[in-house]
Symmetry: C2
Subunit: 107 residues, 2 copies
DNA sequence: TGGGTATTTGGCAAAATAGACAAATAGTTT
DNA sequence: AAACTATTTGTCTATTTTGCCAAATACCCA
């Protein structure tokens, strides 16, 4: 199979980089079952609201989240549920087996 | 479903962080069809050999690669082929559809 | 309009990451 | 042992990331 272009590698890396922070993964987890406003996410994240807002911007700039302002608040939504389906593979890296892990078992 | 523990979020983030660099993704791509020695990878990566070595260390510390010394050289191997199966999802984020992309089509 | 809530942005300091060069290490060959 | 190849590690510098506080912005309601 052909080698990915440098541009594709760069684009992929941007997505992975955005996923490379525990608070951002917590945000994704919170959004897995539906949109949330920033103030709700702020309750979950244990960081300044401004910090949460910046994490959200990183995820949105990467294309992972979308946002919509309704009235006073901004709601964020997960654009690609397929991300969470990757955790089985990630967990296999963590536990060192190299074999995908059934998420229903570990969670 | 239960919220992941902070430790699990941290562990996952480490894996994603390791994947968040174009050179490291290029290395993973090169290892997709079998182990390679550092000198081979160095030809592909366009960076100092010492830099390649450090990238390899990052991937190995994350559990994504393993290494084996044979004679003069060190061979690296992909421990979790499931990683490349995630690119379809990553590409969907890149192209903004939110729908997984068939890798056979884009490559 | 004025006050209140929700969110983002500016600015700064601390920490982490990346990359180059040179030196060190390990193994091989003569 | 000396020379040579392959790889890693020390050190330094530049860049990026993170996170807080304070200020700015946007919207709602009285």
């Amino acid at each position: 199979m052909p080698t990915p272009t440098p541009a594709l590698l760069e684009a992929r890396a941007e997505v992975f980089k955005a996923l490379g922070h525990p608070s951002r993964l917590a945000i994704i987890d919170a959004l897995a079952d539906g949109e949330r406003c920033v103030c709700d996410l702020n309750k979950i994240i244990d960081a300044d609201m401004s910090t949460v807002s910046r994490h959200l911007a990183v995820l949105r700039n990467a294309g992972i989240l979308s946002s919509e302002k309704r009235g006073n608040q901004v709601f964020y939504r997960l654009e690609c549920p397929c991300i969470t389906s990757f955790y089985g593979c990630v967990e296999s890296v963590i536990n060192g087996t190299g074999q995908p892990v059934d998420l229903d078992v570990i969670r």
